[in-house]
């Protein structure tokens, strides 16, 4: 569907699909990324179209490599796109902070999807600062249609200035669906060739990097000129608005609706900017001069707000403005915004009263919700091998008895922090950081540190960023255990393949990189365990805990229960033997449901006994081992 050459037809596309479609309409040949929400569907969508449109799409080992793969295509005269979340941009930043100096050949677009409100992230970070830091052009789509059109145009801009172009999305753009009118898909064959007669792509070639930096500043002035005429900037409202809202990205719809709900179309104007770095100075000046009050609406940091203030201070008119926004406290300084945040800010500034619904309804609903509704906490799925791995880790550390600790990483298994993973994890930072911290903790023994250290990482994370830290630990002979929670895919972001799986992004077979062989080649002791065999995994961990003084690796292996369930029927039919479960008289105090906490295993309030929820149970059969009365029974499915 995304590959349909059906110009002028309208489709309901998710922002990420629209971005992918824009890239296809721009005639890309290569797309590369490492998955990360809310950006994952961009490359996922392109992967679906790869065979039909004869483009190359890959899930790279990490974001830096992904951007390098995309840049390579650009150097060889093929348009390319890379996409990542804000944390991914940090990984790719070292390359990007040199690429901006060398420039590119064919259009290269980097899409970054930020996550205001940290809905699926460990941090809240505004990627737009990178555009300013690196002097690269920035575009921010505000609608699904614009997500497509802007991405397509970004390739033209990239070629016009021979440099990379950044497109910044946010969750509510990437994950919102809307009407998108398609454009034409280009035809014509692509020919890749690296021109060896041109100057090298290197900032230290012939002259100093400073010369390249200088040129970059000149280029940016040119971009500013181009932005003055951009159709991605528009204004709605009266000629001389009492209040001028300047907004970008997700702020456009919220601002428009807020003005509409408050019936202030006659007195409030909205200047919507799609080109947010460098700013189109003359255009902004024109609208600023028509008002005295400015409200800036944007997500995460006061990026646009600060740049607008800076720009206004430079304007020759000598005029001053009252700016409202994050700095004035009218918009929250962090977290996600929504239409109500904008309504409230406007109502306060123009001094009108707004109630969304009667005060009595508001109070009534608050009370009813408070009394009856509780949050649905995050938990491992039924049959998740991470639950059983953390169970084994918990038991092994308890048996060891020296206050051992677990260092976490990024993936579903970050939930090892919470009760669903028995609150084992003590640190979580960036991809691979658990391993790096383990490498350091394992070396402070000379200061009296004698607690066992276990770092956990997923299989995809292992390839992404753990390997260098592991090598560091081998080199320093640090004392710890690395547990690789190998569930055969990048589960958290939608089961994307990685170098350890036998298939690539476009479904072709690829030779899997073997984690244990790789560790063995590094000279580190490696043990493999079945995550569902809790007793054996625990014993292997206990043995490894005693084998001190060097790095050791345990691979706790089991395919993600969700992936497995798509293909095969459950391993077991699990049931509670009601004669053996003696309920609250047992003395275990509901051990199975209270501690093991598998959603397939529930406490029946009426019978006061454990019960299997057949609609949820994945049939892994592991819970059979945790009941002291052997009341949980399993029967192998044929």
């Amino acid at each position: 569907m995304i590959a349909a050459n059906a110009p002028n037809t309208c489709q309901l596309l998710m922002g990420n699909e629209a971005i992918a479609r824009g890239a296809l309409e721009a005639g890309i040949g290569v797309a590369a990324a490492y998955p990360g929400n809310p950006s994952s569907e961009i490359i996922g969508t392109l992967a679906q179209a790869a065979k039909e449109l004869k483009i190359y799409v890959e899930w790279s080992v990490n974001e830096k490599v992904a951007l390098e793969v995309a840049a390579a295509a650009s150097f060889a005269n093929i348009r390319a796109i890379s996409a990542m979340k804000q944390n991914g941009l940090n990984v790719a930043l070292d390359f990007l902070a040199n690429l901006n100096l060398t420039g590119v050949k064919s259009g290269l677009v980097l899409v970054v999807s930020d996550d205001p409100g940290s809905i699926s992230s460990t941090n809240e970070q505004d990627s737009r600062h990178v555009a300013k830091t690196l002097d690269l052009p920035l575009l921010e789509p505000a609608t699904p249609q614009e997500a497509k059109d802007m991405t397509r145009w970004a390739f033209e801009l990239s070629e016009e200035i021979a440099n990379a172009c950044l497109v910044r999305s946010v969750t509510r753009i990437s994950h919102a669906r809307g009407n998108v009118t398609l454009g034409k898909l280009p035809d014509g064959e692509k020919r890749a060739r690296f021109d060896i007669s041109r100057p090298p792509y290197a900032s230290i070639a012939a002259t100093t990097p400073v010369k390249f930096h200088e040129k970059l500043h000149q280029t940016l002035s040119r971009v500013s000129e181009i932005y003055e005429r951009s159709s991605f900037n528009w204004f709605v409202g009266p000629k001389q608005p009492e209040l001028l809202i300047i907004t970008c990205g997700s702020g456009w719809f919220y601002s428009k609706e807020a003005v509409d709900i408050l019936s202030k179309e006659d007195s409030i104007g909205i200047l919507k900017l799609g080109t947010t770095w460098p700013l189109p100075r003359a255009l902004i000046e024109r609208y600023l001069l028509q008002t005295k009050k400015v409200l800036v609406i944007e997500e995460i940091d006061a990026f646009l707000e600060t740049n607008l203030k800076e720009l206004s201070a430079d304007l020759a008119s000598g005029k001053t403005w009252t700016f409202y926004g994050k700095a004035s406290g009218h918009i929250p300084p962090c977290g996600e915004i929504n239409p109500n945040v904008v309504i409230k800010a406007i109502a306060e500034i123009v001094k009108v009263n707004y109630v969304s619904r009667g005060a009595d309804y508001h109070e009534k609903s608050r009370k009813i919700v408070e009394e009856n509704i509780f949050p649905r906490g995050l938990q491992f799925c039924a049959g998740c091998p991470h639950r059983t791995s953390f169970w084994a880790i918990k038991d092994a550390l308890r048996m060891d008895g020296r206050e051992g600790l677990v260092l976490g990483d990024i993936g579903c298994y970050s939930m090892g922090l919470m009760s669903t993973g028995f609150s084992q994890i003590k640190t979580v930072h960036a991809m691979g950081s658990g391993m790096g911290i383990a490498s350091g903790l394992g070396k402070v023994s000379s200061f009296g540190f004698n607690q066992p250290v276990i770092a956990v990482c997923g299989d995809s994370t292992f390839f992404h960023a753990v390997i260098p830290a592991l090598i560091n630990a081998i080199h320093s002979q640090s004392d710890f255990i690395l547990v690789v929670l190998d569930n055969a895919g990048t589960a958290m972001t939608g089961f994307q393949p990685h170098p350890g799986t036998d298939m690539n992004a476009i479904g072709a077979s690829s030779p899997p990189v073997n984690i244990e062989k790789l560790c063995q080649a590094l000279g580190v002791k490696v043990i493999v365990a079945d995550a569902y065999d809790v007793k054996e995994t625990t014993q292997k961990l206990v043995d490894l805990l005693r084998d001190e003084g060097k790095p050791r690796v345990l691979i706790s292996r089991r395919e993600c229960a969700l992936i497995r369930a798509k293909r095969e029927k459950p391993l077991y039919k699990v049931q509670i033997n009601p004669d053996r479960c003696i309920g609250e008289t047992c003395g275990c105090e509901r051990f199975c449901t209270r501690v093991f906490k598998c959603p397939g295993l529930i406490w029946d309030k009426n019978t006061k006994k454990a019960k299997i929820d057949e609609a949820v149970c994945s049939g892994c059969g592991v819970c059979v081992e945790i009941c002291s009365q052997s009341a949980i029974v399993r029967e192998a499915n044929e």
Partner: protein, 222 residues
């Protein structure tokens, strides 16, 4: 635009991760887009694959494209695949004008499943919904789906109920056509049956409701 003539039509389809509300909001959205509407769907979900609250904000208009989040108190209609989730959405997006169609089968949150918290009784939930809504309709969609041998089809039953309610501008046949394009033959017939059972269950309720209402009106006139 609909029986209620609301523009934009602000519909929330809510439930728990894994219940399939994102799929039905997408299919409904596509049908309405093909019928010439501006459609926006904002999907709100957290990091959880399963078990977390998931809501789709579906916004439909003849005039313009709306943003992906419905403002507080502006939901016209809530379709709930899980009763407490319907109540949760009313708490933020409801008003005395909001209609509710909800499945009555609970999906227990972890605290309830492990015996540490009590799930509110159906009577309590209904009482809460009654206080916070305009009209409310209750279906045991999960029971209907289990009757078909596939509890996961509760989402299709609820899609049927929604279309059967005639509160949104989607024709039954158009939605069936959409299902035919989206499902392989082996799964299609079951999905179609679940959908049709939802449509008829809702029609039945509306008939009873209307006859009760006309009885009341007649009684008042006397």
């Amino acid at each position: 635009m609909s029986d209620h003539g609301r523009d934009p039509l602000n519909l929330i389809i809510t439930g728990v991760g894994g219940q399939g509300n994102i799929l039905i909001s997408k299919l409904l959205g596509e049908v309405m887009l093909e019928a010439g509407y501006w459609v926006t769907i904002g999907e709100t979900y957290g990091a959880s694959q399963r078990g977390g609250s998931v809501a789709s904000h579906v916004r439909v208009s003849k005039r313009t494209q709306y943003g992906p989040l419905i403002p507080e108190g502006q939901a016209g209609l809530i379709l709930g695949l899980e009763p407490v989730e319907s109540l949760r959405m009313l708490g933020t997006y409801g008003s005395p004008e909001t209609d509710v169609i909800t499945n009555i089968r609970p999906v227990y949150p972890m605290a309830v499943a492990i015996g540490e918290a009590e799930y509110p009784s159906l009577e309590t939930i209904k009482e809460g919904i009654r206080k916070l809504s305009h009209e409310a309709w209750y279906l045991d969609a999960s029971e209907i789906a289990i009757g078909l041998g596939a509890p996961l089809l509760a989402n299709m039953v609820m899609a049927g109920a929604l279309i059967g309610s005639r509160l949104i501008p989607v024709e039954e046949e158009k939605f069936k056509g959409k299902l035919k394009m989206n499902f392989e033959k082996d799964r299609l017939s079951l999905n179609l049956r679940a959908f049709s059972l939802g449509v008829s269950a809702m029609r039945e309720q509306r008939k009873t409701f209307q006859s009760e209402r006309s009885r009341k009106t007649t009684a008042r006139k006397k």
